[in-house]
């Protein structure tokens, strides 16, 4: 097929959208709503992951040692992001700071420093924290491991639930969008039935017949996605501004940090959904040869 013909067929596809404006508008609104909901799901997911990761990432795992002295095994353990060896002396200084005593005083009161040497660890991925803790506990050099166990566990659970729920909603919405696009295109096909029949009799090939509908689907997807991206980003901007004064302790992801990703992924998703939906909608007429 010639380039100029392809271009003309694209024009035809856009003309189709205009010819059944009513259903185009209905489809546009439905897809925009679905994609907007998808956008909010993504925003919620991103923020929850961000918050919990922040919290969990700062989770201190304290490994108390049986006797003072660094342990190479712990420092080189897989999955450890950062470690700090704390001598009994350092621990005492810290404690004094915490209780606002002078460390001299404490040292005098406590004839012998009773504090244990320990490691303060940060793990790379909190999902693995259980495994790391049990590995540590199994080491003979280790006396006890303390971390915010309960809190960490429930946060990890929350992440999993939100992740799974988000994924489920994501698939439902994607299917809904595909269905809307496919139906719109079936309707578009019906509207142009007379023309298609004639074109076939005049010798138009299958690609010639189908191409305008693929363009139509892509355009519909792209238009709806643009609208949805605008709605999502704009409302997120408003929400961020509002939360700054009303929920100042809530560290939301900044608009700038997500803008590009939302525009890129959103438009691509619209385009791909439009294309797949249109292929699905006109699959019976899909070129076979």
């Amino acid at each position: 097929m010639k380039f100029s013909t392809g271009f003309k067929l694209m024009g035809k596809g856009l003309e189709n959208l205009w010819r059944h404006k009513g259903s185009t508008l209905a489809a546009f609104i439905s897809i925009t709503i679905a994609l907007t909901v998808l956008g909010y799901i993504a925003l919620t997911w991103l923020n929850v992951m961000n918050l919990t990761d922040n919290f969990l990432g700062n989770l201190d795992v304290r490994v108390f040692l049986v006797k003072p002295g660094t342990v190479k095994k712990i420092e080189t353990l897989e999955g450890i992001a950062k470690y700090e060896y704390i001598t009994p002396d350092m621990a005492l200084t810290k404690m004094a700071e915490n209780y606002q005593f002078s460390s001299e005083y404490l040292r005098n009161v406590l004839a012998d420093n009773p504090l244990q040497a320990s490691y303060s660890l940060r793990v790379k991925n909190v999902q693995n924290i259980h495994q790391i803790v049990s590995t540590l506990e199994a080491m003979p050099e280790v006396d006890e491991v303390i971390y915010g166990g309960k809190t960490a566990d429930s946060l990890i659970k929350l992440q999993r639930i939100i992740g799974g729920f988000g994924l489920l909603l994501f698939f439902i919405l994607i299917m809904a969008i595909l269905l809307i696009v496919a139906n719109t295109l079936r309707l578009s096909f019906a509207v142009r039935k007379q023309e298609i029949t004639l074109e076939k009799i005049l010798g138009a090939g299958p690609l010639y017949i189908v191409a305008p509908f693929l363009w139509e689907g892509k355009a519909l997807g792209l238009l709806s996605a643009s609208a949805a991206v605008l709605v999502v980003l704009y409302s997120y901007k408003m929400f961020s501004a509002w939360s700054l004064t009303s929920l100042p302790y809530l560290p939301l992801k900044s608009l700038d940090s997500i803008k590009q990703m939302f525009i890129g992924v959103g438009l691509a998703l619209g385009l791909v959904m439009g294309f797949i939906g249109s292929v699905w909608g006109v699959r019976r007429y899909w070129p076979k040869e």
Partner: protein, 227 residues
């Protein structure tokens, strides 16, 4: 050595459900010939023509185009053959929401002609058929005869190898009908385009020497001046 006929029907039968329209029809359309097809209304003329273009499938029998059986053709081969045909449909099949110009341009667009070529060809063909002033009118704004001419223009604009004309003069006054026939006849003679034309106009047919066939009671037979 004889030339392969452009179209050759061998033992073609067609029934719509239980309504048998054609029985064991044989027909040869040599390249560059002019053939008439006669028959009462409902005899099966349109059905026969549609089988030649591949729009209707025969119930039995074979249809050869340049020696190839079209009943076995794939979609793209069929599309190629159809691009060689200029079809004047009995019901004009003009797209009502497209202008005369756009309707006539359609086959050229399918042939992937350039915008410039399309413009030149469409404008000149409309002029030849005397409807140049109607280029930007919509089919609903035309008389029956004008529509028929648009339909004819669409059929001949893309230089077809064969023109299949299904009662192209049905709605025309005798003089215009004669003109249209003369046009088809001259396209046949000067450009060597094969023509097959279904018609009711026995008188017109009897004035020519072209081979003529008639469909009667499901049988296709040479016409000998009476029905």
């Amino acid at each position: 050595m004889t030339q392969t006929p452009l179209v050759y029907l061998s033992g073609v039968s067609k029934a719509y459900n239980n309504n048998v329209v054609l029985r064991q029809a044989d027909l040869v359309i040599p390249q560059g010939s002019f053939t008439f097809l006669l028959g009462h209304t409902g005899a099966g003329k349109s059905t026969l023509l549609k089988m030649i273009s591949g729009e209707v499938k025969p119930t039995k029998g074979k249809i050869y185009v340049k020696g190839q059986d079209i009943t076995r053709w794939s979609g793209s081969k069929k599309a190629n053959w159809r691009r060689c045909i200029g079809y004047v449909f009995q019901e004009d099949r003009l797209l009502t929401y497209r202008t005369v110009y756009e309707n006539v341009a359609l086959p050229l667009e399918i042939h992937e002609c350039s915008r410039r070529q399309i413009k030149d060809k469409v404008i000149s063909i409309l002029k030849v058929l005397g409807i140049g002033s109607k280029a930007y009118a919509y089919p609903d704004e035309l008389s029956g005869g004008e529509k028929q001419r648009v339909s004819l223009a669409r059929a001949i604009v893309a230089n077809p190898e064969i023109i299949i004309a299904d009662e192209p003069t049905a709605q025309l006054d005798p003089i215009t009908a004669q003109e249209i026939f003369s046009l088809l006849s001259s396209l046949n003679q000067s450009a060597g385009i094969s023509v097959i034309m279904a018609t009711h106009e026995w008188e017109l047919v009897s004035k020519t020497k072209y081979p003529s066939y008639v469909v009667r009671d499901g049988l296709l037979m040479p016409w000998e001046g009476s029905i």
